[in-house]
Structure formats: structure tokens, C-alpha cells
Amino acid sequence: SQTIHQWPATLVQPVGSPLSLECTVEGTSNPNLYWYRQAAGRGLQLLFYSVGIGQISSEVPQNLSASRPQDRQFILSSKKLLLSDSGFYLCAWSVGRRSSYNSPLHFGNGTRLTVT
């Protein structure tokens, strides 16, 4: 069966510090990978998605970037955090590009990021 790991679970970082959140998926190949941010009262916001190694699409211009160095690894980064980067970050995967694109997303347990 497929599993998704996301870490750390919680993180407190000062303004201006760098960020690296990591997500890995097991039990599937060539998944589509996603980074979402969830803010209270604003719902789930898609930040980045990837259909393959090195292929990253950004949905929202911002202080963050994403990379996919391996097929089942997805990393969210920032060089300098802003207060507005605080939030709940979720990684997700779905069945890869050959399958119907309306297959469901499967989420990790998220990282609660607080920028102080």
C-alpha cells in the first residue's frame, strides 16, 4: 500500500531564516506531487505541483520554492521566511500522469510552521 511521509510535524522559525520541508511517498511510482497551504478561514491553497523529476509548476507567486530531486521526494524551501509564511503545509500525491487526472489526492499529516 502507498504511504506518504512528511516532516517535521511542527516547526518554529525566526523571520529571515531558511526553510526546508520534506515529503516522501512509498509504494507507488511516478506520482503527481503537490504542496498545499491551509490557513484558517481560507481553505486549501495549491502552492506547487509536479508531474515528474525536476518538473515543478508554481501556482502562487511567493517567497517559497519547490524541488523534486527524486521520483518520490518533494521538497518545499524558502531562503528567507516572512511572517506571512506561517501556516499548515500539506504534501499530497495522486496517481501519475497516465491515469485519469480526476483521481483523488492523498495527503500527509502536514507541518505546522510558525514564523516568529
Binding site: 481553505g43 486549501l44 505541483y49 487526472y101 480526476n102 483523488p104 489526492l105 495527503f107 499529516n109 502536514g110
Partner: protein
């Protein structure tokens, strides 16, 4: 503009008191309607996908239905462990290859023993 609206925002039930959650959608060419359950501090857990009006799916005490304008999540004889936030999301023809789902803000359900 594609939009998904969930109601009510919050719902409190007594154990065993059945009810329904609503998800109204306005999307161009619905490709799929998804229901998720989210516990506090956790990621959303996939429940159901509905593809066409008239379709129904069931899982334990939950049943999801779909019409051309809305979806309902019926909860029969709920238990305290059903307490969670329930999210719905729609995939439309406008989503393109990025699979950008349109998400509702969720219904927070509390079931009292």
C-alpha cells in the same frame, strides 16, 4: 468563476442524530467531486469520489450523493469518533493538467456522546 460552498460551517449533533452536510458547486464541466475528512492537526483523509449526477457511495455511517448542483454527505446515527471537519472539492474542465481542485472551506462536525 468556479466555486465550491459548504454549509453549515459548523454542526453539533447528539450521538445517533442523523444529518446531512451540503456542498454546492459551480464549476465548468465537473470531472469529479471529492469528499475528505480532516481531524485536528492532521492532513485530509480521502473518503469518496463522485463523478456524475445520481451517483451514490457509502462507507460505514457515511453516504455521499451528487446532483448537478450539489453534493450531500449524509451521516447516519453518528458517533463521537465521526467528529471532524469534512471538506469537499471539485475538479473541473478548467483544472487542466495541474489538477487544481476547487476546495470548500469545510463543515466542522461535533458529535456529543
Amino acid at each position: 468563476e468556479d466555486q465550491v460552498t459548504q454549509s453549515p460551517e459548523a454542526l453539533r449533533l447528539q450521538e445517533g442524530e442523523s444529518s446531512s452536510l451540503n456542498c454546492s458547486y459551480t464549476v465548468s464541466g465537473l470531472r469529479g467531486l471529492f469528499w475528505y475528512r480532516q481531524d485536528p492537526g492532521k492532513g485530509p483523509e480521502f473518503l469518496f469520489t463522485l463523478y456524475s449526477a445520481g451517483e451514490e457511495k457509502e462507507k460505514e455511517r457515511l453516504k455521499a450523493t451528487l446532483t448537478k448542483k450539489e453534493s450531500f454527505l449524509h451521516i447516519t446515527a453518528p458517533k463521537p469518533e465521526d467528529s471532524a471537519t469534512y471538506l469537499c472539492a471539485a475538479a473541473s474542465d478548467n483544472a487542466g493538467n495541474n489538477r487544481k481542485l476547487i476546495w470548500g472551506l469545510g463543515t466542522s462536525l461535533a458529535v456529543n456522546p
